[in-house]
Amino acid sequence: MPDRVSIRIDGELLHARLGQTILEAATAQGRFIPSLCHLKGLTPVGACRLCLVEVAGIGRLLPACTTPVQDGMAVTTRSDRLDRYRRMILELLFAERNHVCAVCVSNNHCELQALARRLGVTHVRFPYSFPKAGTDLSHRQFVLDQNRCILCTRCVRVCAEVEGAHVWDVAGRGIGSRLVCELNRAWADSRSCTGCGKCVQSCPTGALAMKGFAAEEMVKRTETITRLVEAKGVRA
């Protein structure tokens, strides 16, 4: 089998490496597909569904971050339907927790906010659920604010795959799902947390942040995580 394949993205003929995902192939060519749970370097999980694309001949939409390219594949990354769905997904994310951008540590540096802006989400049509989602302020250096968590599991993956500590997991089901530290301990009581802060740097929103940072002060270093992974060769 050749290790190079030809695919069409939005009508344009491109070459990609076999084994690449649609998202990787598109990004390598400088094309934009919205994504949120994906962080280059971590195992893709297809959790947020923002990267859904249309693939010719396949009746359902596929997540670009987990779908490998195949020779002759024809992918559509933008359409009215996709735009509509993506906006709806973002609105649902906003409605699910208590996101108050104006006072958030990550205001103006938040991937969720940036995507909403880019995809033209001007308001949320669904009723907010205003959950009572707590905070974990027990750690000396970091804070977890469940109000801002979108359950992308980047923190879970970076901790398990890169740091090897596996502090984070997701407990519960459906709307009741929550990020938990080990078996639902206070962060300060974690036996495996090394205090490296990789989870904080990976988190796309203000859910994980440095303690003591005021509104708008938290800028995440996601590329550092990607570079670190590449340097360590954890995942090619």
Binding site: A214, A215, E217
Partner: protein, 471 residues
Amino acid sequence: MGHTIQIHHVTRIEGHARIDIHLNDEGRVSSTQFHVTQVRGFEKFTEGRPFYEMPAITARICGICPVSHLLASAKACDAIMAVQIPEPARLLRELLHCAQFIQSHALSFFHLSAPDLLLGFDSDPAARNVLGLIEKHPEAARDGIALRRFGQQAIERLAGERIHPAWVVPGGVNRPMSVDVRDQILSELPLAHSILRRTLRMFKSMLDQFPAESEAFGNMPTMHAGLTDLDGRLQIYDGIVRFIEADGRPAGRIARPLEYSRMIGEAALPDSYLKAPYFKPRGYPEGIYRVGPLARLNVAETCGSAEADRELAEYRQRLGRVVNSSFFYHYARLIEALWALERMEELLHLPEILDRHVRAEAGVNALEGVGIIEAPRGVLIHHYRVDERGAITGANLIVATGHNNLAISRSIQQVAERFLENGRISEGALNRVSAVVRAYDPCLSCSTHAFGRPAFRLRLLGAGGTVLDER
């Protein structure tokens, strides 16, 4: 049959209020009430938040003076961290605060109150607003806009954002001031200075036109409270809260912020979301006191800057050492703005204000913290309690308009008694009732409804609650 006159939506104040005037059988005023009809609930919904988020959250209370809440909140956080913030940060915070005073006082004087003062209380209500002012007194309107812009631009230059700057943080400020910014602000000072001089001159020349207003606009003996330094100089960022009697004798003071509740009690009022603070040693409601420009100039010995002190001397020569008519809030406001400008100049010339060490870092070192500053409208207190991890377990905010609550109600009564006759209320009388509220520049729910056209809704209610008249 007793009547109730309700004035809904007092216009040209910042927020929402309703005034009830109860008339007795003879159509005379029997009592008045000032209701604040919005609840903000900040104290409740901040529970559980990390304490260091409080400056950003509480700054959202108000679009007019967010800087005040930012500063009071940051000071309360400094207290929880138990740090003394670096001196340059303290100076920068004060500088920001001075700019805020100037823009806020400019808004209050020119945009909100000048229409009454320059166009007249009895002038056509449709034109008695900032637009009417632009038409009749374009120079004053221009001055007002330019002065406010000066303050706002200085804030923007320092903090990077006009409304809700994220620059002030627990422990200091998050970035030092550049030489460029300093020089820019310095270069803009002279224009603001000349506007203030001009405005003071104009205001003083008009003083004789309002004998009835200066007589009856909340002209009453009350205590006054304000911040000064140890030498009795006017302070707005830090100092001692002093209480004086209506005749100027000292009554008490808050030297340690944490002990404010020994001096200040808070009474909850029916029908209003605004609590009524009172001077505790005297009890409620005898412990009525005023805060804000009038009170500050009553409490302070001096302003501490040359030109403002000259104006202060003249002010006292005209009106006495302690001024008890709330009509003169406007006058006091102008003198304060002048002082703030001089203070800005002084601060900008200090070499250490450019120092790069502007933030102290620390965790939770005290489970309680209180920050007290002077907002443009008066003493502002933020009081937080936290658990050992730094999560807020309780917050109490006492805002300037709260302190003045009792005084405002009493002033309304006085104005109503003076200007209402036989249960009838003329347009001019109606406006004077609102104007006396505006003299305090109340920041009620702290929204920015500054430019609404006059929209008084007056209702005459019979004893049974039936609407007798409405307009």
